[in-house]
Symmetry: C5
């Protein structure tokens, strides 16, 4: 996620350099031909106006859709933060609520709380790695027993496996008296929420924005940039400022190219890029909040933006 307010012009140019260079070449060519008095290449400006408005429909549609995807992804991870906190609170208060009962064993209960909460943290980290298709699963070793970690590395859908493991732990605790009554019933509500968030993130990850909108936006953008200097040179030539067709074409092409690109970079929010939803920072937030609820004093430092980007 980009946090800084002003962008590096070189980086911005980098994003649209192909479009700029294309536009520069075409507009220079148009101007040179026109200077040789071949005015028959001039098209009416209305051509650009009508193509520009058709392009605008696609660009507006795409910006809305890709922002919608990004924001949905952010909202899903906001929900993961919430449900992780709620689940951790339930684990802690439910386990403690049985402390007055006959079969209460303090050590068993404390280790259950720690194990379950660390499992929640591990799940969030695992979903992050799963979505970004990263392979450093050893990050999860600290949160799991070595047996659990071994089984995890052998499973294909790792967050789903951790869900199953959390479910099993809950019913084990129900049967040995660490939990009781309707505790599992209520905790299921949060497991369910987390599972739904995972599935929705996978949906965004695995389903690109319909390719048609991507392909034709690019195609029409180039068609527009190609015809633009032809439809400008007539007016500019008549006003005897023909050479200005080059900067003006560049500015307009730059604006439309940026409009099209801005949508593109937000389309896929889980790619380990600067425009990602900041999964790493969100995982650290979850870890900090959950460890604090367990009573840990030694919390990991919150994520700081690096050069204006938060990962």
């Amino acid at each position: 996620m980009i946090l800084k307010r002003n962008f590096n012009p070189i980086k911005v140019f980098g994003y649209v350099h192909r479009e700029i260079i294309f536009s520069l070449l075409v507009s220079m060519l148009v101007w040179i031909i026109f200077e040789f008095k071949i005015s028959a290449i001039a098209l009416p400006f209305s051509i650009s106006a009508i193509l520009g408005s058709a392009l605008a429909i696609f660009i507006a549609f795409r910006n809305n859709s890709s922002y919608g995807r990004w924001w949905e992804a952010r909202t899903l991870w906001g929900g993961i933060v919430n449900s992780s906190r709620i689940l951790a609170r339930l684990i802690i208060t439910f386990t403690d609520s049985h402390s007055h009962q006959a079969n209460y064993e303090k050590e068993r209960s404390e280790s259950f709380k720690k194990e379950m909460v660390e499992c929640c943290i591990a799940w969030a980290h695992a979903l992050r790695l799963h979505l970004r298709k990263q392979d450093n699963w050893e990050e999860l070793q600290t949160y799991l027993s070595s047996d659990e970690f071994d089984t995890l590395t052998n499973s294909q859908n790792k967050p789903n496996f951790l869900q199953l493991m959390m479910g099993r732990k809950i019913y084990q605790a129900m049967s040995n008296g660490t939990l009781g009554g309707f505790d599992s019933f209520q905790m299921e509500g949060q497991l369910l929420a987390l599972a739904n968030y995972q599935g929705s993130c996978e949906r965004i990850k695995n389903t690109p924005l319909l390719r048609q909108y991507d392909f034709f936006t690019r195609l029409f953008l180039y068609a527009f940039m190609l015809l633009l200097p032809f439809s400008l040179i007539g007016d500019f030539g008549r006003m005897e400022i023909g050479y200005l067709v080059i900067p003006v074409t560049l500015i307009i092409s730059f604006v439309f190219a940026i409009l099209a690109k801005v949508g593109e970079v937000n389309e896929d929010p889980f790619e380990n890029r600067i425009t990602d939803v900041p999964l790493t920072a969100l995982c650290i937030t979850i870890e900090r909040d959950l460890r604090e609820m367990l009573g840990d004093k030694d919390l990991p430092a919150p994520a700081k933006p690096f050069e204006g980007y938060l990962y």
Copy 2:
């Protein structure tokens, strides 16, 4: 679902060939008549501008609606993936949670788990066939007993029948002690979710986008393409580049025809076409995740895109 980023120009032409040919004929005719100095056929360009903007309202509306339908269909199937996983987890952890009880029979419980999870998988496949109106129900034979399969083939709404069957199995398990307590209560939540997803998919399948928007979009597109060269020829003639009216008309008609078609192909997401929501791939994901939760090692291979398309 299309995964490849660049399209085959011939295929693209195939989608809009009727519009292109229509536009080519009209613009050639207009140019020829104009060349015979019959300039009275030239219309002001404003005609095209005003018709184009009216057409744009319809096209933008249709793109939004049809993309909305496609994305809703994808989201519903995302929900089916989630609820299938959750239901499978509940089946497994609930059944196992009774392993300490007196009337626990390991074999009965294990076969209940396998039967129920396979029934979930069968349901997903059945919904896929049901929505795509395909007839190869024999695909489901491996997941069901032969009695069940026979009854299934005689029922008219097959996914609904499988739902009823899952419900019956749960209450049978409740009564013989395989399940107990509030297990059925919680599993009902996921059966309910799956039933709602099925109904919503059927709604999209059975209700086309309002035909008015389809018919009048096509009608106005042809009206626009018909008048376009007449309203261009005036300016082009004056600038003595009359022959350019043909390629320019073609480009603009192509852009508007594509704008109209892009919406059309996404309207119906369950037709076994390349623009479908990839139901086959999603069913395989469900099968892989659910079988892994059961402990199966021999999972079906994940679906791979074929020539850039995922079915």
Copy 3:
């Protein structure tokens, strides 16, 4: 609901004949006056452009709103299909789940299942008649006992009365042991859903789209159609194709009139018109699915479109 892809031009003309005739008269008058060399009636085209864009805001708004209403109505009835199926499944599996208990009476249970499921079907039919303000309540006689039918005909909100009746039947079954445990608790969830769907349908039925948008859309449409030939005649006259003002005015007026009408016909989806949500077909779907779950073999035939319309 319209299913056919191409419309009868005469029917289309019928929908907008007033606008077409108005436009024809005005444009002929303008042309005749202009031919008498009274060129002072010509207005600049920009007038029509600015009015057209203001009209477009209203028309786009109205199309979105009225399509939103139609689609919401369809979605509500999709929900009714789902909840009816789920409720029927619960009725059947819950009743059967008590078959191993001491106080189980097969006949009582079987007739309870049949009675309740038929009550669900009756409710859907009753809501259809209620929303379409039709009076043939005798259609419901087959699903109810004659006592129940008599009380029904005396109540003002009939679907609401059937809800109350279903609620009463459930608690009677709870008290005599046909049902037990938390059965009623879970069935309430579906009664609640059905009650909410009913209320939402009534909201759409009783609240027209804000009349302001209807009135001013019509007013501005006529204002636009009135000024259009005046603002076209200048250009057409100059190009000496004055007579073409008539067909061009007609085409543009037709397009805008259709844009305005398309929204209008979808505004009210429960009027027993061809543009209705197909309530009759949906009720038959419910009846077929529910009867099949009961084990009936003799299902009513599914609704078929008649001349391209599904009611």
Copy 4:
């Protein structure tokens, strides 16, 4: 809520008379100055076009937002109708479901049902008065005991007080055996829904549409109306129909003023105006439906529109 399809032109004029008069004065002034051959006041038409399109962004935004508010308010009250009916049904069927129990007292149960259902009706009326900031609380006297009514009049948030009262009555009934089991649990679901609807209505009531959009829409509307005749007079003067600048300016100003006003009147749906959500009619619907469920035969008459308005 306006039900009539055609509006009184005088009333319409009343809504926008300030804008019309302003526009009339400016356009007359412009015409007079121009007639004195001071043509240097003519501006290019493009000024109006660019200002008009900026204004259109604001007006479209505002229409969408204010219609969204109105429709949300209507939907909330639709939800109130639904939840009131459901709560009443639960009250009646739950109370009656205990009629076979030992401690059942028919009179106590009947008066509990009547008291609770009347409390629901009172709550709806109270919310209506609360939202419209009306003071005739004596309307509620018939539904409450005189003690309850006294306490009510001393509380600041009256619907919230009635909620608390309903909650207390339910737990009283639970403790004396009028209700039992999980009855209160399920009734809480509807109390919760009603509380959420109340809060959402208060949100709409207390939070005006962001004032920025109101203020700048008005400011830009006047700026547009001011510059409009200046940018029209050039073209009209050249075509020697200078005097026509006055009616044309008036028509365009009228259209834009209406576009801006239509949004304004729907912004606040709880003001006891003709454009309100028809709270009075909805409260009567609730009263009729709930009383009928209690078995009352003497229902209040349904609300009828008065001169085309429903309050």
Copy 5:
């Protein structure tokens, strides 16, 4: 939140003074150069039209998104009001519902009610301070015991800590008989809702509107304002009203600058600014409603707008 209908022109100018001054300087320069007969600087107006429409896409997108954020924030706080009221009602009615039981202790129950309700109030205030990043935590001292307050000041996520504390209090009350049965189960529903509202507010607080839209809106706005006088001077010069280019440029620049700024100020609703969601007023509403439910007579005064602003 701004409540006054008319704005101070000086304040409005303050918001866009940079844009106004920039525009003034550019347009004066353009006019001066043009007066020296260097007409080669005039650009066709179409340049501004096409840039203006591209800018409009961004501005419309941004206004929608930032209003969406503001309204979502307002809705979340509306939900906090609702859930606080519901939770307080449950605390009071549930505690009182056990008054007929053997182990009921009036004093313990009364102090539990007061403690819990004050904890709810403290939570709302804490969330307000947390979101606005204010440090006056001593405000919360009155609602908490001194021990609780000390632990609170040492925790990093204070509202989350208060949630955990409320959870603990509930289970303590369950174990000592102040509460019983399913009381905790139902109260969890509101704790869950409050936790979700908190997380959603944090999401809006911590995730700025995508910076790309902010940066490029500003960039394109300046590009538009730079080119505007160049593209106007041609027409104005020809009509010999060259000096008018300055006020007209200023008006159009002002309108576009305002369109862009209006979105900006609503983007972040928790910054302790006049455009904030009125958190202070909402917290006072919660305190008033909850204290009244406890029977307190001495309620804090409702928040009044100050100079037309509500904080």
